[in-house]
């Protein structure tokens, strides 16, 4: 099976520049800088149909094309390495094992938007990974891959590593930008979008670590090669972080469209359910994506369209597998508690609603739940995040998608596992 991001991660010193160069590294960055125009780069990115790997799946080439050309403000590029979504741990693998491939992609993107200073915003807890990045930057500078006049061109390009302080919300791109600016990390109201007014009110592109890392292979093998790797509307390979009740959890790189069943049960991947207890449900795309029941994942393939059709999202590719012993009420409480703790607090519905949700859910886990609490839970999720209707878009009532990110999973859990919630009411 073709791998393009993680094929070397088992090898010694795979994170070093020497290793990366020996395997053809930075050839594409060099080609982009020396031989390609911005338009050519954007065209290839568009043709490859590379969609953002951070969660929303927005086409990368399209995002770059929104950057205005005819203004004299500097443009900025940011790699989003905040990786805070519960269940997601795939960027960490790239950061620690293959940092140069991300830089390689960042240089290509920099050429596309005429950017000379970029940031990697890395989650605070990734201290070791931040050190690896710092070392990798130092190595690259020595070889004229980063710094002034890179690859002997007249193009300057630098990367600065910025460590976050442990807030999930700082993964949202505008909160991330506020944070880099030294402010409290909370999302901005859009428009204006970062492509017009981002870092320091200048045009800015934010992409996920994996999105950048996918670029060098695309430029090496061609857009069509990448499209052919995947399925319709979902090109290339994707990293899946699989956790939960499986024998062998971990990060796996597979082509888009791979059956979820294979990922869970094949020995090549997770090797089946732990202790062979049957599967009950799966969160397919990180904690923000609505949960799917065993029945709903029957025959499910891991690509944008298929998961959306099943009523959830591919998100960041974080698959959380739960077996039959799992208490879904506890899962719901756990999830809601995470969101209540991480809400930045600016929007009234999210600030107040998340805290209210956990107070009600606490009654379900610890006694005292009332029949009307079920209706109330559903209504609150509607009042924060709106009803889930993927055909019409989202109806969230907040500044950033965090409102939906808490409402949808809670709603899905209550609706799909209603008997478990009702049982708690009867137990008192």
């Amino acid at each position: 099976m073709t791998k393009m991001l993680t094929q070397f991660i088992e090898q010694e010193n795979c994170h070093t520049l020497d290793f990366y160069l020996k395997n053809g590294g930075y050839n594409q960055a060099k080609r982009a800088i020396l031989e390609m125009s911005a338009d050519e780069i954007i065209e290839i990115a568009k043709q490859s149909n590379l969609r953002g790997r951070g969660g929303a799946g927005f086409p990368a080439g399209m995002k770059w094309s929104f950057i205005p050309r005819d203004i004299d403000k500097p443009k900025y590029l940011i790699s989003n390495a905040d990786e805070g979504e519960p269940g997601t741990f795939k960027d960490r693998v790239l950061l620690s094992k293959n940092p140069h491939q991300m830089f390689d992609g960042m240089i290509i993107a920099a050429k596309a938007i005429d950017c000379h200073l970029a940031f990697v915003y890395i989650r605070g807890e990734f201290k070791k990974e931040a050190e690896i990045l710092e070392n990798a930057i130092a190595e690259a500078k020595e070889k004229n891959i980063l710094g002034k006049r890179i690859f002997g061109s007249d193009f300057d390009f630098d990367i600065v590593v910025h460590r976050g302080a442990g807030a999930y919300i700082c993964g949202e791109e505008t909160a991330l930008i506020e944070s880099i600016e030294g402010k409290r990390g909370q999302p901005r109201i859009k428009p204006p979008f970062p492509a017009i007014e981002g870092y320091l009110q200048c045009p800015t592109v934010v992409n996920n670590v994996e999105t950048f890392a996918a670029l060098p292979p695309i430029f090496e093998n061609g857009a069509q090669w990448f499209v052919d790797l995947g399925v319709e509307n979902s090109a290339g390979t994707k990293l899946f972080s699989i956790s939960g009740h499986v024998k062998n959890p971990g990060v796996f790189e597979v082509p888009m469209g791979t059956p979820l069943h294979d990922l869970i049960y094949n020995d090549e991947f997770c090797g089946g359910m732990k202790d062979d207890i049957p599967l009950k449900s799966v969160i397919p795309g990180g904690s923000s994506s609505p949960i799917l029941t065993a029945k709903e994942i029957d025959g499910l393939t891991m690509d944008y369209d298929a998961i959306q059709k099943a009523g959830s999202m591919l998100g960041s590719g974080a698959v959380i597998v739960m077996n039959e012993t799992t208490d879904m009420v506890q899962v719901c409480y756990n999830l809601a508690r995470f969101y209540a703790h991480e809400s930045c607090g600016q929007c009234t519905p999210c600030r107040e609603g998340t805290a209210w949700l956990i107070k009600i859910l606490k009654r379900f886990t610890s006694g005292g739940a009332r029949q009307e609490d079920i209706e109330l839970l559903l209504d609150i999720t509607d009042n924060i995040g709106g009803l889930v209707d993927f055909s019409q878009g989202s109806f969230g009532k907040t500044i950033c998608p965090f409102g939906e990110a808490v409402s949808w999973p809670v709603r899905a859990l209550v609706e799909k596992f209603l008997p478990e919630f009702e049982k708690r009411v009867q137990e008192k």
Partner: protein
């Protein structure tokens, strides 16, 4: 121009206007908290959500701009945007946002000073629900003293962040911050950096609820008991427009009134709390005259008789040496100065002016709000009305002196006082006891600047109207009437003005060369030099 349809009403509006402003300019109310026209739009309270055709999500009307749609994208072939502010979706969003806001709110309106002018009360009444589905325990946090006389109540706070943005964008001092996250969000200061700026009091006005209250008036009165005088602050030459809230002649608070030419939405703390300077026990309540070196209270008739007789006596005694001096001050209104100038003219008096009022520091804030270095309200009017008055420092010896009162914080220099003492007859027109009272022969009680009606000219030449808190019985005469009365008394004739409006029209015509009515001034300030 764009054509929009809002709640079925066709509205023409310029491109770039927000939905919220289009609504307000057309008489449609959209409730909102975090939006304030002076501040950056954050769109966080979620109260102003409206439904816009073609957008599945409700949109914040404060941040959504209206623009012309492409010809083939127009709705019904002509509308650039179709907006509903009253749809079921919108109503539910409003109602539930209010429910969220009240979850942890103490509902202590009966003991909250904001009650009666609180947007949480008003919107809940209009758009909210009368019962709560929240049965859990509320978050309770202690009140905090933020400095500059401001008390913060985190339990009442709705986290609109107007106060924070005020200190960042308007005062530029950045003392307030949001601390903690999520539901534990609160407004805070750093330990060693309390609210400390000349505009701090404005945070109590921008706060839409009772979470920022001035300790100065805390629990003293309910807002619905206030009478309000729309007037102009007389504490510096800026002349910020204000509302003075009072009851039975007692001032409880002063708050700014919007005027985009002069003070935007703001005023400084000196002006806000200056009324306390007038709460001394030194008020001159009745006319007084000096008999056998002692001041005794007399009636108005008594004091006028005294002045007339003594003036005649001194004139007789002094013969060729007789001279009259009059001190004019920029604490007087144009109308007072005008009748004073008439008096001076008819007595052939030498006029002096009190000039040392530039004792402040010129201050300008990030958005352009200014505090003048001139701590008097009407230097510009004085300059116009008395074109060649001498500095009072050069006061000569005169037989008779007329001295109006200065304002708290100002005094005549010792040498000027010594020189004044040399006069045979000193007639003081005063609201409070001062150094002059110790030797004045006659004292006529005057109105202070919260009590008088008249016009003043600010440092940029704006002529504005001062309006009094309720007319008190104790003032038989307006200050300008006293000057007329004195003129009549001593010369036998004077102009016949029956109202301050009449004096205004005359002074404005004769001294400023303008035609204007005092009534018109109530609505709008006018520019002394025409135009801006």
């Amino acid at each position: 121009m764009a054509l929009i349809l809002m709640d079925g009403k066709e509205i023409q509006i310029e491109n770039g206007a927000t939905v919220l402003s289009a609504a307000y300019r057309n008489g449609i109310e959209i409730p909102h908290y975090c939006f304030h026209p002076a501040m950056k739009i954050v769109g966080s309270c979620r109260m102003c959500l409206v439904e816009i055709d073609g957008m599945p999500k409700l949109q914040t009307s404060c941040s959504t701009k209206i623009g012309e749609a492409l010809p083939n994208r127009k709705i019904d072939g002509k509308y650039d945007m179709v907006i509903q502010t009253q749809s079921e979706k919108v109503k539910k969003a409003r109602k539930t946002t209010l429910e969220f806001l009240l979850l942890n709110h103490p509902l202590d309106c009966p003991v909250c000073d904001q009650a009666g002018e609180c947007f949480l009360q008003d919107y809940t009444y209009e758009y909210g629900s009368s019962h709560s589905r929240f049965i859990e325990e509320k978050l309770v946090r202690p009140k905090e003293d933020f400095g500059s006389g401001i008390q913060h109540d985190p339990n009442r706070c709705i986290m609109c962040t107007r106060c924070i943005r005020f200190t960042r964008e308007v005062s530029g001092t950045k003392e307030l911050h949001k601390i903690e996250r999520g539901n534990h969000n609160k407004i805070g200061i750093f330990e060693d950096k309390p609210l400390d700026n000349p505009l701090a009091g404005n945070v109590t006005d921008v706060c839409p609820v009772g979470a920022m209250l001035p300790k100065d008036s805390l629990h003293k009165e309910r807002v619905w008991n206030y009478d309000v005088a729309e007037t102009v602050c007389g504490v510096c030459a800026r002349g910020c427009n204000t509302n003075v809230s009072y009851r039975e002649n007692q001032i409880f608070r002063i708050t700014p009134r919007r005027n985009m030419d002069i003070n935007d939405w703001w005023m400084c703390d000196r002006g806000r709390y200056f009324h306390h300077e007038f709460e001394t026990k030194n008020r001159i309540e009745t006319p007084k005259c000096r008999q056998n070196s002692e001041l005794i209270s007399v009636s108005w008739e008594g004091v006028f008789n005294f002045v007339r007789e003594d003036f005649a006596r001194v004139r007789k005694e002094q013969k060729d040496n007789f001279s009259v001096g009059i001190v004019a001050s920029p604490f007087l209104t144009n109308e007072e100065l005008f009748t004073l100038s008439d008096l001076a003219h008819s007595l052939d008096a030498t006029v002096y002016r009190f000039v040392d009022t530039k004792i402040g520091e010129k201050q300008e804030f990030p958005q352009g709000f200014k505090i003048s270095d001139d701590f008097s309200p009407n230097s510009a009017g004085l300059d116009k009305i008395f074109t060649n008055a001498d500095d009072v420092a050069n006061l000569k010896k005169h037989s008779v002196l007329f001295v109006p009162s200065l304002v708290a914080g100002f005094e005549f220099s010792d040498s000027t006082v010594e020189q004044m003492k040399k006069a045979k007859l000193v007639i003081a027109i005063q609201d409070e006891k001062s150094a002059i009272s110790d030797f004045a022969n006659a004292i006529l009680p005057a109105q202070n600047f919260y009590e008088k009606t008249g016009s003043i000219v600010n440092e940029d030449g704006w002529i504005q109207r001062m309006n009094p808190i309720g007319q008190s019985e104790k003032f038989r005469y307006n200050n300008w009437e006293i000057f007329l009365k004195l003129q009549n008394l001593l010369v036998g004739k004077s102009a016949q003005f029956s109202s301050v409006s009449e004096v205004f029209s005359n002074v404005i015509r004769e001294k400023f060369g303008l035609e204007a009515t005092f009534f018109g001034l109530k609505k709008e300030a006018i520019q002394m030099n025409g135009g801006k």
